[in-house]
């Protein structure tokens, strides 16, 4: 997590995300049984006007890896934010929305799917950071189901 580059001034509105976060979340969806997960999220920068983002979730009982994501968070001026993400499940997200204080609200303007990916059509994400606590909610429309809550989690900054 060494950050040898000066922080780009455009990052100031989302600098509250920087660091490593760990915590727990729960998932639900009409097509699957509810589940719990552990999660680690990292945000870092390399001197450019975007944050690098990686994430992984684990099964609480045995620490087995479940999901992961990677991508970039781009301040887009005037309280706007763009997020570009890749999922190992064959999905990409173009997310666009707002940053207001330490509250982020984004909605997918495009979801990309490989031929073998699950049919996800819409993803909305919201994030709140209060001190060293990050909470988020992810809403998803997929496999014929309407947009609805899929994931909620709360993490603490550990680094």
């Amino acid at each position: 997590m060494s950050q040898p580059f000066p922080q780009h001034p455009d990052l100031e509105p989302i600098a509250f995300l920087l660091g490593r976060w760990r915590g727990e979340g729960k998932g639900e969806y009409p097509t699957i049984p509810p589940f719990a997960y552990e999660e680690e999220i990292r945000f870092w920068h390399v001197g450019k006007p975007m944050l690098m983002y990686t994430q992984r979730t684990m099964t609480p009982a045995d620490g087995m890896l479940r999901h992961s994501e990677m991508g970039y968070w781009r301040p887009a001026g005037e309280g706007r934010l763009e997020i570009v993400l890749a999922h190992p499940t064959g999905i990409t997200e173009i997310q666009e929305g707002t940053v207001s204080g330490s509250r982020i609200e984004v909605s997918s303007s495009m979801v990309g799917l490989t031929g073998t990916a699950k049919k996800v059509t819409k993803l909305e994400r919201s994030f709140d950071v209060r001190g060293d606590v990050l909470s988020y909610e992810l809403r998803m429309a997929a496999v014929g189901q309407p947009l609805q809550r899929h994931l909620t989690a709360e993490l603490r900054r550990v680094e």
Copy 2:
């Protein structure tokens, strides 16, 4: 680059990519002056049926960071490959194509763009690995220009 997980058997067709690669490339496009770059690419796995991929390029003279990408490479059965990528420039790629021996050919079935991204409409990538040498070509249609060569590079496995 520690890989404490057993390699998933589905990765065998693209296991020749695993490792850290360093080398040089050159770029060209009708709308910009030609340029040279240094590059580092890493492929690793976490026991799942996909490779994790990160890449960065630097200006040769001063080592300043230029571009980077992150994403996942997913064998999709029967010589097929899917690649999902995020770019810090506000672009996502869904790439689909073939693996034949150590030759990979993929073409974008979807390019995602944030509102502030450059208008890229098509990306094709090809990769060849011979022993410890990886060469690739990237062809791009963007900003009204037809699909044409944009990047070529040759890297050596260093880890």
